[in-house]
Symmetry: C2
Subunit: 138 residues, 2 copies
DNA sequence: CAGCATCCAGTATGATACTG
DNA sequence: CAGTATCATACTGGATGCTG
């Protein structure tokens, strides 16, 4: 499992290492921008600027930074065309595609429960907006 | 889609609102701790301290903070037992369970591509560790 | 035990400017 | 166009102490 890392040393040190590696990867991938980038790429090949347009609100810096990380983990293939001006294409690799499948699941989930969540929020926020003393609110 | 919000105003202002709401929810949920907590809860009901043990490395603060957020979005049900000392149980709601399904997918993915990613990283890091000038590395 | 508030360090992020 | 570096700042997250 990814939720638990074994902090203690052996019996089997290799398991510990695998666990902490798993956690590391999970932490890399489980962030807003990385997931949005993966989803935006989909099955397409996009150049940097196009990708920037697809992922709404991402800054130049966050995009490069996350793309480097994804490339390092082998989820994204980066192709440099030695033209001028330079042109760089990004595509999901097979592992990247596999991850995207689950990310799409998350996006679908968001859509499906959108209104559900909206009302949940309203209920939750109601007492506060009514100006209740925090101690009694819940 | 979640990757694109329409920043411009109407034609249809309701779509814009839905998009930005979707993005907001996605951003809430797409973070390391939230996902780990959801995965750790699974089908069980856990009290605060137990959950803290399950999600390795989470601080008291991050746990409360994320649990509040998840409760607000209606993904987690919080049950307070009026005993002394107090006892508080957390369970995933139906929407929470639905999300967990996709999160489990991400965890499985991590396991499946663990070694794959490990070698990808080694390849990527190799030139740098060899002390190459950054400009020529790639 | 669970929760909240506070303080503070470390990090993430955005804006800007410069290079190939 | 894509990438890197730098800087200022906002935010995150951890530690601590107090409350019911």
């Amino acid at each position: 499992m990814v939720t638990k890392q074994r902090g203690d040393l052996p019996p089997d040190a290799d398991l510990t290492r695998a666990d902490s590696l798993a956690r590391e990867i999970f932490s890399d991938v489980a962030n807003k921008w990385a997931l949005l980038i993966i989803e935006a790429l989909g099955e397409r090949t996009l150049r940097f600027s196009a990708l920037r347009n697809e992922v709404d609100g991402v800054s130049h810096k966050m995009l490069t930074q996350n793309l480097r990380m994804l490339e390092r983990n082998g989820l994204v293939r980066r192709t440099v065309h030695p033209t001028v001006p330079p042109r760089v294409d990004y595509t999901l690799t097979e592992p990247g595609q596999a991850l995207r499948a689950t990310v799409s699941g998350m996006c679908d989930w968001t859509q499906r429960y959108l209104t559900h969540i909206e009302t949940a929020r309203r209920d939750f926020d109601a007492p506060f907006e009514a100006g209740w003393p925090r101690a009694l609110a819940r």
